[in-house]
């Protein structure tokens, strides 16, 4: 299926759910339908195709397909959990807009354009944080700061890309250094690295829990993927000598890993803990900038898809605890595991997905990024510092295993409850009742059963959400291969034998390296299009894209992001 259909569905869903804000029941149903439709279309996307829009194009890669599938699935489950727990849907427009922006941002070969679209979505989605502004509430200031961060990030990203927009051209070391530092600063701001962490930390607390994975997970991760793609195709092939400057992002990232662990350890509020978990995960993107290694960039792409999924699972667990027991403070949750064992299981799975176990993709990715950036001993120290946060979760679990406290006792547990039995109605002649009343009765019993078991059902949703990143980590979806596939760029390089019918799954995906750069997106004039739609298309058209299907083993010149028409398609 076409990426265009995905975009239409996501954008239509965002507009419709925004327009139906006054009718919560309709909005919830529409949000579920739109998210489910996005899941189906994302699953059916054909990797290796491209959608042409005017003189631009959007290239579908395996990584993009996996990203959209995971994001759509996570958003569907987040919406479902929100509906079950609060009966109201608050994040659907922002979530569906995030999906559409991610599709454009990650599929656009013009990386600067993709960055702009992602920032636009972040600016609008950040308004979710201001959704419950009241007189004297600081949430308005939090939303204002989020907008400021988005704008400054976009400006820094553009300025960084501007300095080194021509890949393959020998740049002065000073030029490359300035570009590198600007992009590193942009990345540090977007992922909330220490000391720029306050806006992100405040956003995590003031935004609705369901929106935290969007604002601190999916959107920053997509932006980081785009910036790291620029880094991979523009700076790394030059093998620049940046002196001691790469130590700066490395040091900041290591500091962030340690400082967030300390913050998590001293925090009692689970909302704050969730925010610092997001900041800690984002530090690995900054660490990648310090590594100056193509392998680290590939591992970062792996990690940046798993991170938002783990955040979604953790956010659902925190929301469940807060809604079920009316408190998110660890000290007030004595015995919560006894009343909510499935939620505890989801928490354990989410933590396993975050930190990983030996052999899992996230474990390998975090370890390799840390070691490549900081060396073996220091990298391991950073990883251990990050893992200290597990002590805080162990404390939450220990409190949950204690005898049930007063607050938890009054809360709603996961114990299944059945609705009262059906009325023994009979038909007019003493026979079986008519079919319509029986169906209506069954429907009413079903709704009552859902009403009585909201927490338990939401816990099952949380379990499903936590299983997603675990499944990715143990090899489902071939995430590692997808992360290593070439990055589409607008530089046209001659391909000796384009074979549009082949797919990356059929041929081994080359890793990103300075010597094996991706080929270009298909140009309308030079690439064969089996669908018979060559030439500058006015309307959208879809063609197989050799850029991800047949990466050339050795590219004549390293491609990169460019906004110049002279190097564009």
């Amino acid at each position: 299926m076409s990426l265009l259909l995905f975009l239409v569905l996501a954008l239509t869903g965002a507009v419709v759910t925004l327009a139906t804000a006054r009718w919560p029941a309709a909005r919830g149903t529409l949000a579920l339908l739109a998210s489910a439709a996005c899941v189906v279309v994302a699953y059916r996307l054909d990797a290796g195709t491209a959608v042409h829009l005017g003189d631009g194009s959007l290239v579908v890669t395996h990584y993009l397909r996996l990203w959209l599938l995971c994001a759509s699935g996570a958003i569907l489950l987040l919406v479902l959990a929100g509906l079950l727990l609060s009966g109201r849907e608050r994040i659907a427009p922002a979530a569906l807009l995030t999906l559409a922006a991610s599709a454009v941002g990650l599929a656009a070969p013009d990386l600067a354009a993709g960055l702009l679209v992602l920032c636009g979505a972040a600016a609008v989605a950040g308004l979710v944080a201001a959704g419950r502004v009241a007189e004297g509430s600081p949430t308005l200031r939090v939303a204002v700061d989020a907008l400021r961060v988005t704008v400054v990030f976009a400006a820094l990203g553009l300025l960084g890309v501007a300095w080194a927009v021509e890949p393959g051209v020998s740049l002065e070391p000073t030029t490359v250094t300035v570009a590198y530092l600007l992009v590193a600063a942009a990345l540090a701001l977007r992922v909330g690295s220490v000391p720029l962490h306050l806006p992100a930390a405040r956003l995590a607390v003031s935004a609705p829990r369901g929106a935290v994975p969007l604002l601190l997970g999916w959107l920053p991760a997509a932006a980081a993927v785009v910036l790291l793609a620029w880094f991979s195709v523009t700076v790394l092939p030059l093998q620049p000598d940046l002196g001691w400057w790469p130590a700066l992002p490395t040091a900041l990232a290591l500091l962030t890993l340690a400082a967030t662990s300390i913050a998590i350890l001293v925090q009692d509020d689970l909302g704050h803990v969730l925010g610092y978990m997001a900041i800690q995960g984002g530090a690995f993107a900054l660490l990648t900038m310090g590594a100056l290694d193509a392998a680290a960039a590939v591992e970062a792409r792996t990690w940046l898809l798993i991170l938002p999924l783990t955040l979604a699972a953790l956010a659902t667990v925190v929301l469940l605890i807060e809604r079920a027991f009316g408190s998110g403070r660890a000290v007030e949750l004595r015995g919560w595991i006894r009343r909510a064992p499935a939620t505890a299981g989801a928490l354990v799975l989410a933590l396993v997905a975050t930190y990983g176990l030996p052999g899992m993709a996230q474990f390998t990715a975090r370890q390799r990024i840390a070691e490549l950036a900081a060396g073996r001993p220091l990298g391991l120290v950073g990883l251990l510092a990050a893992a200290l946060a597990l002590l805080a979760w162990a404390r939450v679990a220990w409190i949950g295993l204690q005898p049930v406290g007063a607050i938890v006792h009054e809360g709603a547990g996961e114990r299944p409850a059945l609705p009262p039995g059906p009325d023994q109605a009979s038909g007019p002649a003493g026979g079986p009742p008519p079919i319509a009343p029986r169906l209506l009765g069954l429907l009413a019993r079903g709704r009552l059963a859902i009403e009585l078991n909201r927490v338990g059902l939401a816990a099952l949703v949380a379990l499903a959400l936590a299983l997603l990143p675990v499944a990715l980590g143990i090899g489902a979806g071939h995430l590692a291969d997808a992360a290593a596939e070439p990055i589409p760029t607008p530089i046209a390089t001659p391909s000796p034998s384009p074979s549009p019918s082949s797919s990356p799954s059929a041929s081994p995906s080359p890793s990103i390296s300075p010597s094996a750069e991706p080929t270009a997106e298909p140009t309308a004039s030079s690439e064969p299009t089996p669908s018979g739609s060559p030439g500058p298309s006015v309307g959208p058209s879809e063609t197989p894209s050799p850029s991800s299907a047949t990466p050339s083993p050795v590219a004549p010149s390293p491609p990169g992001p460019s906004t110049s028409p002279s190097v564009g398609p």
């Binding site: 005017g54 003189d55 631009g56 656009a108 013009d110 600067a112 354009a113 960055l115 702009l116 679209v117 920032c119 636009g120 979505a121 600016a123 609008v124 950040g126 308004l127 201001a130 502004v133 009241a134 007189e135 004297g136 509430s137 600081p138 949430t139 308005l140 200031r141 939090v142 939303a143 204002v144 907008l147 400021r148 988005t150 704008v151 400054v152 976009a154 400006a155 553009l158 300025l159 890309v161 501007a162 300095w163 927009v165 021509e166 002065e172 030029t175 306050l198 930390a201 405040r202 607390v205 003031s206 909302g271 704050h272 607008p490 460019s562 906004t563 110049s564 028409p565 002279s566 564009g568």
Partner: protein, 206 residues
């Protein structure tokens, strides 16, 4: 040096300086619209007519969105930290610096006027973004910052692609809409355009 680009950069710079200097929210929004209209013309060669149309529509929509909150509250705002005039002077000085630095920038592929206009808009935008406490000038600062950064990019990389221009147009509208919405929220809760006190303590949040 293209005269159209030079004139457009000059007008954009004057507009940015005026947006920094004025204490009337309506005039700030109009000056911002003017800057956004002129920014795509600071290029050599000029972009396609379709791209220009996209940027034109984006500039008008962004300006309209920034004017929306002004209808519901008093438009008079406080001056900036240095009083506005000094900051407007810095904006003009940034233009001059960009104009002088453009020809000597070794990597530059675009016109020097783009660097000059970019520096001026960036300075004005960042100034507003950092120091203002109201929604209209927040939007003004945000859009000027982004336009300035895009101009600097075009100074180094040449005229941007259509995809980039379309993305920039979308971003400008999105940012203006977000700032306008925040301003409306401030009016709804406080009765004025200002956002109110800044909370430093995380425990106050939520």
């Amino acid at each position: 040096m293209s005269l159209v680009a030079l004139a457009a950069a000059l007008v954009a710079t004057i507009g940015a300086a005026f947006a920094v200097r004025t204490t009337d929210a309506r005039l700030a929004a109009l000056a911002t619209s003017l800057c956004l209209l002129m920014a795509p013309l600071v290029a050599d060669p000029l972009p396609d007519p379709l791209v220009l149309a996209i940027r034109l529509v984006a500039a008008i929509v962004a300006g309209y969105l920034l004017l929306l909150p002004v209808r519901r509250a008093a438009p008079l705002l406080g001056a900036l930290r240095l009083g506005g005039t000094a900051e407007a002077g810095f904006v003009v000085a940034a233009f001059a610096v960009g104009l002088l630095a453009g020809p000597v920038a070794s990597q530059a592929q675009g016109p020097a006027t783009a660097l000059a206009g970019g520096f001026a808009l960036l300075l004005a935008g960042l100034d507003l973004l950092a120091f203002v406490e109201d929604g209209v000038r927040l939007g003004t600062g945000a859009t000027l910052t982004l336009s300035g950064a895009a101009l600097v990019l075009s100074a180094f990389a040449g005229t941007p692609s259509s995809a980039f221009q379309a993305g920039l147009g979308l971003l400008l509208v999105a940012v203006a809409a977000a700032a306008a919405w925040l301003a409306l929220l401030a009016i709804g809760t406080r009765g004025e355009l200002r956002f109110g006190a800044r909370h430093r303590d995380l425990r106050d949040v939520g």
